[in-house]
Symmetry: C2
Subunit: 491 residues, 2 copies
């Protein structure tokens, strides 16, 4: 096991392999027996729970309530919203039968051919269709609006190439679906939620993100506008970390959902939908971690502090002293593990907790006990310091805040150092393969967009907000361009 820890591939040698290995070695997830579906192990799931807890509270503060809609969607629903069919319903798991039976020789089971469904059912790839079919019964008058529902659930898209957390056939997510009386209100909610995601990503996950609006090509099928937050991974590639869609009246029209306005006239309802998924765990890993393993922002770390004694045969005094420190930290709401297991050497423990990204490590030996000191190490920089035991709880508390801030600042500095304005297509083509976010003038046509993708595999990630736009010339077509877009290769 100890040798395994050392075997982690270095990022510089093979970033992609480093990631895949780290997911497994840090006990976050593993491939399952089902193609493209992963098992999320307790340590990985604890990160997801922390994310859920925080996001759920943020949603509820904005008036959102949770509900649950069926896993299976009748096939015909996918025909209703024409654009939606084209974009989404292709790679999906299809339920055709509802019974297994024993084989004639009783040694195995087989599908009972007589138990065939009249209409096939699709495992939800996303739930707009079944939810809007449901909302039809909930909405009659303007007084029934807005509806602000969210669900935490599993979804399934039959992906051909999968990677743990980043792209899996089944994944966990939340999907919010809101219904409004006016376009303005639905659009405002769409923008509100991308801001909630950006705030969550930056404050909680320490992920700096660029907010913006997608090009028509990159929009969610059925949306009039898709807002996105884009994060930069350490290889300079972009990762779409969350999206929020202004759906106009498309689903209301597809499922005939109208309300009577104050003048008693029927109107189609306006919609938004928005989601983030377990993909965020992949973003966390790829943004912060290093060649020693995970680096986790304290706010999302399942375990924030580990305390390790280094004693001789008699550990009772160390146990007493460190046990008291652990108890005090827990009282402050800090999650702590006191690891005095005697079947693993300290060196193994150090490497293991580094690999798992525990933000703060305290170590105390018998000499420390005599001197009233303790060694404190921060995972983000690996800096060690011997400090007085007195006041260690306050020091740890402050250090956790420092680490959270430092991890964010480090990621932001890295990101900012790899954002380039670029006006020359030849230069762009040479440089984009090395990663980075390129801000380039775009003429707004799908042709130029397709050209860039064909030449470089890079895509328009968004038209960024919070960026002072100037007019210019499209670097590909030479045509006039009203603004710059963010272009990058992406996950």
């Amino acid at each position: 096991m100890a040798t395994e820890l050392k075997d982690l591939t270095k990022r510089a040698d093979d970033y992609s392999r480093w990631y895949n290995e780290l997911v497994v070695k840090a006990d976050l997830a593993e491939q399952s027996a089902v193609r493209g579906c992963m098992v999320i192990k307790p340590y990985g799931y604890a990160i997801w729970e922390k994310m859920q807890h925080e996001l759920d509270a943020m949603f509820k503060k904005t008036g959102v309530r949770n509900a649950y809609f069926p896993l299976l969607i009748p096939k015909s629903f996918f025909s209703r919203e024409a654009e939606h069919v084209e974009g989404f319903a292709k790679e999906a798991a299809v339920v055709t039968h509802y019974r297994l039976r024993a084989t004639a020789d009783k040694t195995a089971v087989e599908v009972d051919p007589t138990a065939k469904l009249e209409e096939e059912l699709i495992i939800r790839p996303t739930s707009e269709t079944i939810i809007w079919n449901t909302y039809k019964g909930w909405i009659h008058s303007w007084r029934d609006l807005p509806i602000l529902c969210n669900q935490w659930c599993n979804v399934m898209r039959w992906e051909m190439r999968t990677r743990p957390f980043l792209r899996t056939s089944e994944f966990l997510w939340q999907e919010g679906h809101t219904a409004h009386a006016t376009a303005e209100e639905a659009e405002a909610r769409t923008q509100q939620m991308i801001k909630v995601y950006a705030d969550f990503a930056e404050r909680f996950l320490a992920l700096p993100v660029m907010q913006g609006v997608k090009s028509e090509t990159e929009r969610f099928a059925g949306a009039l506008n898709t807002y996105t937050i884009e994060a930069m991974m350490q290889d300079g590639k972009a990762l779409q970390a969350g999206t929020s869609h202004f759906l106009g009246q498309n689903f209301a029209k597809a499922f005939d959902v109208t309300y009577l306005d104050k003048e008693n006239k029927p109107q189609y309802v306006w919609a938004s939908s928005w989601g983030v998924s377990t993909r965020l765990i992949g973003a966390l890993i790829m943004t912060h971690s290093d060649d020693n393993g995970l680096v986790l922002p304290p706010k999302v770390a399942p375990l924030q502090v580990v305390i390790i004694p280094i004693g001789g045969k008699d550990m009772s005094k160390l146990d007493e002293k460190l046990g008291a420190i652990a108890a005090n930290l827990e009282k402050k709401g800090i999650s702590v593990k006191y690891d005095n297991a005697d079947n693993k050497r300290p060196g193994f423990k150090f490497a293991d907790y580094e690999l798992k990204g525990v933000p703060v490590r305290l170590v105390m030996g018998n000499r420390d006990l005599e001197n009233g000191t303790v060694e404190i190490m921060r995972r983000d920089t690996l800096e060690k310091e011997t400090v007085p035991m007195e006041g260690i709880e306050e020091r740890v508390e402050k250090l956790l805040d420092d680490i959270q801030a430092n991890i964010y600042n480090k990621a932001k500095s890295f990101r900012d150092a790899h954002v380039y304005e670029c006006d020359n297509y030849e230069e762009f083509k040479t440089r984009v393969a090395d990663g980075g976010f390129f801000l380039c003038h775009w003429d707004g046509t799908a042709e130029t967009e397709a050209q860039i993708k064909a030449d470089t595999q890079a895509t328009i990630r968004c038209v960024p907000f919070d960026f002072e736009q100037t007019e210019g010339v499209d670097m590909v077509s030479g045509k006039p361009a009203k603004y710059r877009v963010l272009i990058a290769r992406s996950y």
Copy 2:
């Protein structure tokens, strides 16, 4: 809407219809477009969230951690554990294809016949098989044990006759799966978890339950022992509210999961599994509610207090006073709604909050304001009282505790009054159709058990714990019996 509220069928007229109507009228859930699958609406889901929150904390206190395993299970896994096949794998949703395509005329979608899976995948009806296939990779030595995992997820069983919450094709639940080095430890965990469920049911849901062990016929497929908690509904029928299974080494053997013991010898691993589901919401409703609607124990009520002003044109003073009371209650951790909406009459609001089972209602009019009083109503007994405004917060807090206790005591008195010792089969056959729990001597044979079921539809619910057993004579066969069992008709 107001008339709808009054239309609730009375329990005495048609208990089953009363239940179905109440689920819909109280906004808990509704039938979806997919046969046998329900939509859990925000008010119903909020009850589930409260249950999850409490149970999850109780699990974690016993060392359990959450994880997530795939939704889909390869068909062949169901052939591994032979008994499991017979009992479980029959009515299940089968995924056979992984792609939809547009029809030739582009107006609809159809299943792409070329995208057929080599091996069909089954939507999990329960996860023992995929989890034990995973545990194989996690368990090598005795040091890897125990493993104590739980998952919160959706499962699917293709039920022919469904009822909201009580029996649906898809439902939400938690399933715990533990792995141990010894039979004793696995059996102890199995019993520990049924006690956790009983404690949760009684303390949180105010549901008195009988704990016991299932007969061989009623055991979970693949289990050596199934423990159960059985609750009594108001029609005297039993409802199985939670189960915990001692699985022996069955799944370890089926999936070849062994560990090296301290002598370095390979041993098969021992297992338990245990679960409760959204069915508990059905149990809550059927146990406590009345002809006016839901009665919810305060601990599980999404909204604990509603405050309604009855004013004239100028509501400002009432708003100020009642707003302050609401804020004070919230500070105490009590969930409150101040409903001063002017588009609904007070009478409508009263009926609506009664229907929704809000435990405490405060009403204040202008005369109360002058007198410094407020009207307080408790939902469980519908008793009203006019009390001083001074100290209302403490009074509400205490009343919520009283209501929680009273609801439990009421259910327990009802249950206790309908538990009968019965030694005569003719008498039993006459009386069992009217409901109630019958404690009868049983000779331990499956034949007698089958006879009772065939004659009366009643089943052996369990051999109850905490019951002073005496030997006797089986009321059906006349053979010697070592103990009494609990027999009842059930949901």
